[in-house]
């Protein structure tokens, strides 16, 4: 992609400083970001293909499990479509996935939560969207976990997702939550998103139609990346 991108609307994404999420207090820039049109470098991005993925990258049940073993936890399929803001499919985009295990523990040297590690679960995967922007991966439902934020704070169950799109300025890193989780209302990270409509976009919905009987529950999560500026009026003028 080398066409200009639509400017980001203010008030939709989380602001840099959200004091209820304590870590933002010393890490949020105080100056507003300098707005200007993307240069060629930001309108292009890395391209990935099937050759970059291993055969089990999209199967977190198995991709870190010993032969004949499988990760512990509720078996889930997460699927959806990646589109841009004009609902055009974003084909062949790379999606990186990471998450805690069913007990809420990450396989990470800095995570000391008392829930045990699952020797058959790595919590890391990748998927490549197809020509229609559709993607899917298999995993286990992650558990909620406590975290140090100054009080009795618990993360709702969530999966981290990183998408490349087709332009560096389309890069998106976000988190997927699960419909009905009562911890969502209490999460300062999710609630950093200012609007109810915005928060709702981070919640995967139960998809009974794609559920595999006696096997796997399916969740639908569609993802929208920035679209092209449609008119000259949407192309931001030069300067600050």
């Amino acid at each position: 992609m080398t066409t200009p991108l639509r400017p980001r609307r203010s008030g939709w994404h989380p602001p840099a400083l959200t004091p209820a999420y304590r870590s933002t207090r010393l890490r949020a820039p105080t100056q507003a970001p300098l707005a200007l049109p993307s240069a060629p470098v930001e309108l292009r991005g890395p391209v990935f293909g099937h050759a970059d993925l291993g055969p089990l990258d999209g199967d977190l049940h198995l991709n870190a499990a010993a032969d004949g073993q499988s990760a512990i936890g509720p078996r889930i399929l997460v699927h959806g479509q990646v589109t841009d803001e004009d609902r055009r499919p974003v084909p062949h985009t790379l999606i990186e996935i990471w998450q805690a295990n069913a007990g809420g523990r990450y396989r990470h040297k800095r995570d000391g939560y008392l829930a045990p590690l699952d020797p058959n679960f790595g919590g890391c995967g990748r998927a490549l969207a197809d020509a229609d922007g559709r993607y899917a991966f298999r995993s286990i439902q992650p558990g909620p976990y406590p975290w140090p934020n100054g009080g009795n704070d618990w993360r709702p169950a969530h999966i981290h997702l990183s998408l490349f799109g087709h332009a560096f300025a389309q890069r998106l890193v976000t988190q997927l939550y699960f419909e009905g989780d009562p911890l969502m209302a209490h999460c300062p990270i999710l609630n950093a998103v200012p609007s109810e409509a915005g928060r709702a976009r981070l919640v995967a919905r139960l998809d009974l139609a794609r559920t595999e009987p006696m096997d796997t529950v399916a969740w639908r999560f569609d993802i929208v990346l920035r679209g092209a500026a449609q008119t000259p009026f949407e192309t931001r003028p030069e300067g600050p």
């Binding site: 400017p7 980001r8 939709w12 994404h13 989380p14 959200t18 999420y21 870590s23 933002t24 207090r25 010393l26 890490r27 820039p29 105080t30 100056q31 970001p33 300098l34 707005a35 200007l36 049109p37 240069a39 060629p40 470098v41 930001e42 292009r44 991005g45 890395p46 391209v47 970059d52 991709n63 870190a64 589109t83 803001e85 990186e96 990471w98 990450y106 396989r107 990470h108 800095r110 790595g122 919590g123 890391c124 990748r126 981290h160 990183s162 560096f168 890069r171 998106l172 890193v173 976000t174 988190q175 990270i189 950093a192 998103v193 976009r201 981070l202 929208v224 920035r226 300067g239 600050p240």
Partner: protein, 177 residues
């Protein structure tokens, strides 16, 4: 349909972005054997509003080759994209080549993004190079005014250095691009 809102990459971003389970897809060594152009070691230290190192941060780079070109018509010996997790001192280090000027881009530069716990939306910035005569007319550096120096790497021994300050005195100019 608006863009999906951003969320922080969190403190465990290494699992998914550097794949602590298997081989990493994107690493900090971008310069392959025979890559054209001037070898570039880019280092920098990320600090917070109190000057403490951002030890759990991660930086991505995306750049043209030494001739200012992008895939698929560019130097195949260069990985145009790189990733480096900060060490305990908040320092990152890339091995790449000095980017050339892409047509219509102003002065030569690389794009960078920064992810960390406490960063709700990834921070965009650019890395320019001190002493390049084209810097004087670059539209972004002009727009950044007296803070433009926060986006200009300086020689540091055999390497180049671009420190990143998230907040407060000397705060880096972050971009809404």
């Amino acid at each position: 349909m608006r863009e999906t809102p951003s969320q922080t990459a969190g403190p465990y971003l290494h699992i998914g972005m550097l794949d602590e389970v298997g081989p990493a897809l994107i690493g900090a060594s971008m310069r392959g054997p025979g890559a054209r152009g001037e070898a570039l070691t880019l280092i920098g230290r990320i600090t917070d509003g109190k000057g403490a190192p951002v030890a759990d941060g991660l930086v991505e780079m995306w750049q043209p080759d030494a001739d200012g070109r992008f895939p698929p018509v560019s130097d195949p010996a260069l990985s145009h994209v790189g990733r480096c997790a900060c060490d305990a001192d908040g320092t990152f280090r890339f091995e790449t080549v000095r980017p050339g000027a892409a047509p219509g881009s102003g002065a030569p530069h690389a794009a960078m993004m920064l992810y960390a716990r406490g960063v709700n939306r990834a921070l965009h910035l650019r890395c320019y190079f001190k002493g390049d005569p084209a810097n004087a007319d670059d539209p972004l550096l002009r727009a950044a005014g007296d803070r433009a120096h926060t986006l200009i790497a300086r020689p540091d021994g055999a390497a180049w250095r671009l420190d990143i300050r998230l907040q407060g005195r000397g705060e880096t100019v972050f971009l809404d691009v």
